[in-house]
């Protein structure tokens, strides 16, 4: 019944030591984390800041080398992969970063940034590359002349769309979105989220969607994992997590969402204070 997962993460762990290795203070940033991502699915990873969500995302791509565990993508373990193979696997898994300001090199034109992403992964003649860059720019809603823009000439939302285009241009199946909308205005957030959703439907993409913003995650995810202090405390389909949270930490998180109506807020307060009989 269940389709073959695209990404299988098993017992992933990463701890950070103090200044020196052997230091007594060991921070378990990612502690025995396991989850699957199915093809065409958005998997939300939520938790407060510092709980290890971003470290998990980075460890999957080996931007941070994890200590132990396995990450298998289409049946192959990324963590045991030789360099060459890892390089070409990076076509399949891409990343979109939180800060649209520091994630684009200020000295390079948008077209060059996208072209570079292509150049790193494919040996293509310049003409074909330029054509693909123009196509992808068009796909994320930019006019042709944006090719020559510099990042500082664009708004945060526009930059983030370029960030998505940069991930998209190499033709990935999975995109790790690390707080992709947290730095944006709410009005721009939905614009980027809708674009991500449309791209998913159109291209059959999978997302690992990392965020601390529950309402955003609820909006976009099919399934959710809740992380606390490096561990996944609860995971399941979005509706189930939101309607029937099992773990106290999940309940705490849900309660922290500001209510959309005063009456709802009042009801929630009484529900909390009334003792269970």
């Amino acid at each position: 019944m269940t389709p073959q997962p695209l990404l299988e993460v098993r017992n992933l762990s990463k701890s950070f030591h103090g200044r020196r290795s052997g230091d007594a203070k060991v921070m378990k940033a990612v502690d025995d984390v396991s989850f699957d991502i199915l093809p065409g699915e958005t998997f939300g990873l939520v938790g407060e800041s510092g709980c290890g969500k971003s470290t998990t995302g980075r460890a999957l791509l080996r931007l941070i080398e994890p200590d132990s565990g396995s990450v298998s993508f289409q049946g192959q373990d990324l963590l045991k992969m030789p360099r060459k193979q890892l390089h070409s696997t990076r076509r399949q898994i891409q990343m979109v970063f939180q800060d649209p300001y520091s994630s684009l090199n200020p000295h390079r034109r948008v077209g060059v940034i996208l072209d570079e992403a292509l150049k790193i992964q494919y040996r293509l003649p310049r003409k074909q590359r330029t054509e693909r860059v123009h196509r992808i720019l068009d796909r994320v809603g930019f006019a042709e002349d944006y090719y020559y823009r510099f990042p500082h000439e664009m708004s945060g939302g526009q930059r983030q769309r370029i960030g998505v285009a940069r991930a998209l241009i190499v033709g990935p199946q999975l995109i790790i979105c690390d707080e992709p909308v947290s730095a944006l205005d709410v009005s721009i957030q939905s614009q980027v989220l809708n674009m991500l959703h449309d791209l998913q439907v159109e291209l059959g993409l999978s997302y690992l969607f990392i965020s601390h913003d529950l309402s955003v995650v609820r909006h976009i995810s099919h399934r959710i994992a809740v992380m606390q202090k490096g561990r996944i405390v609860e995971q399941g389909p979005t509706d189930e997590i939101f309607s029937n949270p099992q773990h106290p930490y999940t309940r705490q998180l849900l309660d922290a969402i500001p209510a959309s109506h005063p009456r709802l807020a009042r009801e929630r307060r009484t529900a909390l204070t009334t003792p269970v009989s």
Binding site: R109, E116, A117
Partner: protein, 296 residues
């Protein structure tokens, strides 16, 4: 002045109207304008000066030695009767050449060492300890030691000063590169699978050119002073070839009878170094917003 940059660091990628805005900012920066004017003036004199002198820098004229400044000998004559203006002009060729070469060589070496040290941790430990060793010596002492080892020759002055000043450039490049390295776009490149070469030379290097350029102007000024000091101590440009330092050295014993032999080359050095420092300070204000000068 910025020709070595793949894209001019003064205009890190700008459209036409932003570029004209930048030009206006340069014109409004009094330090850059003052420093630039002084340097241009000195360069002009260095170029056309030889045409204005009554005699060549090596022509001795014993009957007319130690003449005070006059309309024929603007700076007076020295103890061999050589025209001092001609010698200062000829010395400017040596001094500016040494200063420029040293600035260029240290920029190149410093860029490579600094970038490699910033990116590779093991290399960082080794390279930086070596550079610390070099920096532990006072600049002039190290330069004298190197000159003693290599032999007194103009080319060796350039080699010695380059060795002395490279650590300073490398430090600046390294620290700027360390900041750039932590930017998300570098992490993004790694996620895309970019090679170390691409990350370092295509993406980090252009971002450290501005501080490098600023540092290079200060090295330019510093090496002119140090060259003069070396020549003054007899470990620099060997006589009879004039350099500002060895003209000062010749004038030292006669300072009370022929003041012009020390005052004019001394003033020239001061003026050039002042000009370069103005230029460097102004460029820093223009290029590095963190060091904005407090004065308005």
């Amino acid at each position: 002045m910025t020709s070595f940059a793949p894209r001019s660091p003064l205009f890190p990628g700008m459209t036409a109207d932003r570029r004209s805005l930048q030009l206006r900012r340069i014109r409004n920066n009094s330090q850059v304008m003052t420093g630039g004017s002084i340097l241009l003036l000195i360069l002009l004199i260095a170029l056309i000066g030889p045409l204005l002198t009554p005699s060549g820098p090596y022509e001795t004229d014993t009957p007319n030695r130690l003449l005070p400044p006059s309309t024929t000998n603007w700076f007076g004559t020295d103890n061999f009767g050589r025209d001092l203006f001609a010698r200062v002009v000829s010395g400017s060729h040596v001094s500016l050449m040494v200063g420029f070469s040293v600035a260029l060589i240290t920029s190149g070496l410093g860029l490579v060492i600094g970038l490699v040290a910033a990116y590779f941790k093991t290399a960082d430990r080794i390279l930086m300890r070596i550079l610390d060793g070099f920096m532990a010596f006072p600049a002039i002492l190290l330069a004298i030691a190197i000159m003693a080892a290599l032999g007194v020759q103009t080319e060796n002055v350039i080699v010695a000063l380059s060795l002395v000043f490279t650590p300073y450039v490398a430090r600046v490049v390294r620290s700027s590169a360390l900041v750039v390295k932590e930017q998300t776009y570098i992490e993004s490149l790694r996620a895309q699978g970019a090679s170390a070469y691409r990350v370092l030379w295509v993406n980090i290097a252009p971002n450290v050119l501005s501080p490098l350029l600023i540092q290079a102007t200060f090295i330019f000024a510093d090496s002119i002073i140090t060259e003069a000091a070396l020549s003054f101590l007899g470990a620099g440009v060997p006589p009879p070839e004039p350099s500002w330092g060895n003209i000062l050295f010749d004038g030292k014993t006669l300072i009370f009878s022929a003041w012009w032999m020390t005052v004019f080359p001394g003033l020239t050095i001061m003026l050039v170094v002042l000009g370069i420092n103005f230029l460097g300070d102004g460029l820093r204000d223009l290029l590095d917003p963190r060091h904005k000068s407090i004065r308005k």
